[in-house]
């Protein structure tokens, strides 16, 4: 692995971590689509700041873009507060309008200037190791500029999250309670929006606007399927983000394709894996759980059936393993397998093909009957 490859991967990882940290709160607060809006509207901040400064590498571009992101959220919320437009529609109204203004400004006023639209959407992570993009201080080479910037963003995000962890947690899960406690959820909300905006702007340079959305939503949603604890969710989200970055880089390397596109693809793939196989919440384990509950229910039903006919004249007929399917109206193989399960679990014994309840089985049946009468 050459140094250039290492640096690109480091930048990809740093970007993923910064985005995944913000993403957790976006996913939990159902604000993920704001990242979509912000990542589009930062363009207008960049364009306006560029017109004012006339310099594409000016740090004011970052400031302008961040402010544009915050402005977007404020506009969406103002529109929503009028009560005539719902949130989803408000987002769908604001960002295309701002984005259109930006596109028009670019096309009208900067025909001769190199403000490449594709670079904005796709990012230029592959150019990271170029000599012109390195941070050199006091004669030492501190690696690529964008990597230094991204690491700074990680520290800002981490600092915000650690400093206001309690406030973030309460205002995310119980906004009304946090208001009652005097945490002013609105300021926390604004702080979060500022973090998301800064992160989007910085990542935008590396991975492009639409893939910022991928890195903010997919790793956090994957983590959401894996754990119930906020702190663990943050860790899982970062881990998934890093895996997408490294996996995406090598996928791009082998296909000779766009790095940011591959990163999004891998992030989506990891989400799909979690969606299907996550313990407890995945499709597969939910399906298994449903199957287990079904069997458990059938077992109790069988035991209740046995208590009804215990010590009666028809016991030999009703409780015979061969005939169970007729009385319980199940398929033959199901009634047999449930009967064997009952024997296995020590709820019944087999005496000449007739099922007899053990004390344990009787207790289970009576308990569920009791539960039934209590409910009604």
């Amino acid at each position: 692995m050459t140094q250039a490859q290492l640096e690109i991967q480091l930048l990809a990882m740093a970007t993923s971590i910064a985005c995944s940290l913000c993403g957790v709160f976006l996913v939990l607060r159902r604000m993920t689509l704001l990242s979509d809006a912000i990542s589009h509207t930062v363009l207008i901040g960049i364009v306006l700041a560029f017109f004012l400064t006339g310099d594409l590498s000016s740090p004011w571009l970052l400031v302008g873009a961040t402010l544009a992101g915050v402005l977007t959220v404020i506009m969406v919320e103002t529109l929503q507060r009028t009560g005539v437009v719902r949130e989803d529609a408000a987002i769908g109204l604001v960002f295309p309008a701002l984005f259109s203004i930006a596109v028009l400004l670019i096309s009208v006023y900067s025909r001769n200037v190199h403000l490449d639209m594709d670079a904005v959407l796709v990012g230029k992570i592959a150019f990271t190791p170029l000599p012109s993009r390195r941070l050199e201080l006091w004669g030492y080479d501190f690696g690529p500029k964008s990597l230094a910037l991204m690491i700074a963003i990680i520290f800002i995000n981490l600092g915000f999250i650690l400093l206001f962890f309690k406030e973030l947690k309460v205002s995310t899960f119980d906004p009304a309670f946090s208001k009652a406690m005097g945490f002013t959820p609105y300021y926390i909300h604004l702080g979060l929006v500022l973090c998301v905006s800064t992160t989007a702007v910085a990542s935008f340079d590396a991975v492009g606007s639409i893939l910022v959305v991928a890195l903010m939503s997919a790793p956090a949603a994957t983590a959401y399927l894996l754990t119930d604890k906020l702190s663990k969710m943050l860790v899982w989200s970062c881990a998934t983000g890093i895996a997408s970055a490294v996996g995406g880089y090598w996928l791009a390397h082998f296909l000779d394709a766009s790095i940011s596109g591959s990163m999004a693809t891998v992030a989506g793939f990891l989400f799909t894996i979690a969606f299907i196989f996550a313990p407890k919440r995945g499709l597969f384990s939910q399906w298994q759980l449903a199957k287990m509950r079904n069997r458990k229910f059938k077992l109790v039903l069988l035991l209740v059936h046995l208590t009804q006919h215990e010590d009666t004249m028809r016991e030999g007929e009703e409780c015979n393993i061969e005939n169970l399917h007729l009385h319980l109206r199940w398929d033959d193989y199901i009634s047999r397998s449930i009967a064997f399960q009952a024997i296995d679990e020590g709820c019944a014994i087999d005496s000449n093909k007739v099922l007899k309840l053990t004390p344990r089985g009787r207790a289970l049946a009576l308990e569920s009957l009791q539960l039934g009468t209590n409910l009604t």
Binding site: G92, P96, V122, G261
Partner: protein
């Protein structure tokens, strides 16, 4: 002045954008009412891999071949969103964001892989993202019309079902309507419209065209039929206006953004000035009502004071009324208004008593309030 009318090919551009605007407005109505405004955004981004895959498989650049691929992936994306929200605890906003970005990223990967030019600029991508309304040919207009007619026919044919679906899904279920069938049908129509529009206005602006006209139309009417028609009309007008404005200047500017800005202005005006729902009218009404309320409360305070102090004191000063009012600042203004209406009388300089007319006015008000409760 009307030179722009002579621009060759402008006729087909106008026809194309008008058809597209009408179609987007009509179908957008249902998505906005069903709180799925951003589904369009997701679907339109998700079409990218479909376009590239169908190019790879059929090795053709015919627009209908690419469109077919886009339709398949657009439908797939809407099903993925549905599956994620139904089978996991991930909420709709995250599901939309993931689908949008991952499908798009996948498309981007395929595109760069096809062209073997990592992270370089692509003419095809730019067209997909921003559209090129200026290059609409007669052929494209026929294709648009061919998509528009069946879509609109579907809307008319299943009007009742779509109406139920938009307002009361559970009632529709209880009537025995095959709700999921019509939901999927609506999604497919949406995908068709989006795919038809991608070439003209591009991805980002497509979602605006689906959301903005219905939101504008909603401000003017409470009837679904009227709203759908108005949304279509607004869409068509902005399509035409956008195409004309972008051709007005000496150098032509991109049509898509102009259309979006035009319809955004229509939305803003509707939200501010539409009768009944408009914010300006609501604000004026509130202001007027709060003035009347203040007037009534000052009069009622004065009456109470006069009753309590009858015989001891002839009138009451403004300072006194200010002391007991919840909004002291408006008291003197209210008093002068009340004097104009002859509801209070100045017995001495600066001291007021309610007149007979004032007392009956207040009595009427209170009985009205009692009656309405």
């Amino acid at each position: 002045m009307f030179d722009w009318l002579l621009i060759p090919g402008l006729g087909s551009v106008l026809a194309g954008t008008a058809i597209l605007g009408f179609l987007c407005g009509t179908l957008g109505t249902f998505t906005v009412l069903r709180k799925q405004s951003l589904l369009g955004d997701s679907i339109s981004h998700a079409c990218l891999p479909g376009i590239i895959l169908s190019f790879l498989i059929f090795n053709s650049k015919e627009s209908w071949v690419l469109m077919a691929g886009a339709v398949v992936f657009g439908t797939l994306a809407s099903l993925v969103v549905l599956a994620i929200t139904k089978y996991s605890r991930v909420k709709e906003d995250s599901a939309l964001a993931i689908t949008l970005s991952v499908f798009f990223g996948f498309g981007l990967m395929l595109l760069t892989w096809v062209q073997r030019r990592p992270d370089a600029s692509q003419a095809g991508l730019a067209r997909f993202l921003f559209g090129q309304a200026a290059t609409l040919l007669d052929r494209d207009v026929y294709l648009l019309a061919a998509i528009a007619l069946p879509c609109l026919a579907c809307v008319l044919l299943f009007w009742k079902q779509f109406q139920l679906l938009s307002f009361d899904r559970s009632f529709a279920l209880s009537l025995g309507i095959n709700v999921s069938f019509f939901e999927i049908l609506l999604s497919i129509l949406l995908v068709l419209v989006i795919v038809a529009g991608l070439e003209t206005v591009g991805v980002v602006l497509m979602s605006a065209l689906l959301v903005a006209p219905p939101v504008a139309a909603r401000q003017w009417t409470n009837k679904l039929g009227m709203m759908t028609f108005l949304a279509g009309l607004f869409g068509a007008i902005s399509g035409i206006a956008g195409a004309i404005i972008s051709n007005l200047g000496k150098t032509s500017i991109p049509t898509g953004p102009v259309i979006v800005l035009f319809i955004s202005a229509v939305v803003l005006l509707s939200i501010l000035f539409a009768p009944a729902r408009g914010i300006v009218w609501q604000f004026l009404k509130q202001w007027k009502e709060s003035g009347i309320l203040q007037l009534d409360s000052v009069l009622s305070n004065l009456c109470n004071l006069a009753k309590e102090h009858s015989g001891k004191q002839l009138g009451h000063s403004i300072a006194m009324l200010k002391e007991i009012s919840s909004q002291p600042a408006g008291v003197s203004k209210s008093i002068s208004k009340l004097r104009e209406m002859a509801l209070v009388f100045e017995v001495e300089k600066g001291f007021f008593i309610p007149t007979k007319k004032g007392e009956t006015y207040l009595l009427n008000k209170t009985s009205q309030m009692g009656g309405s409760q």
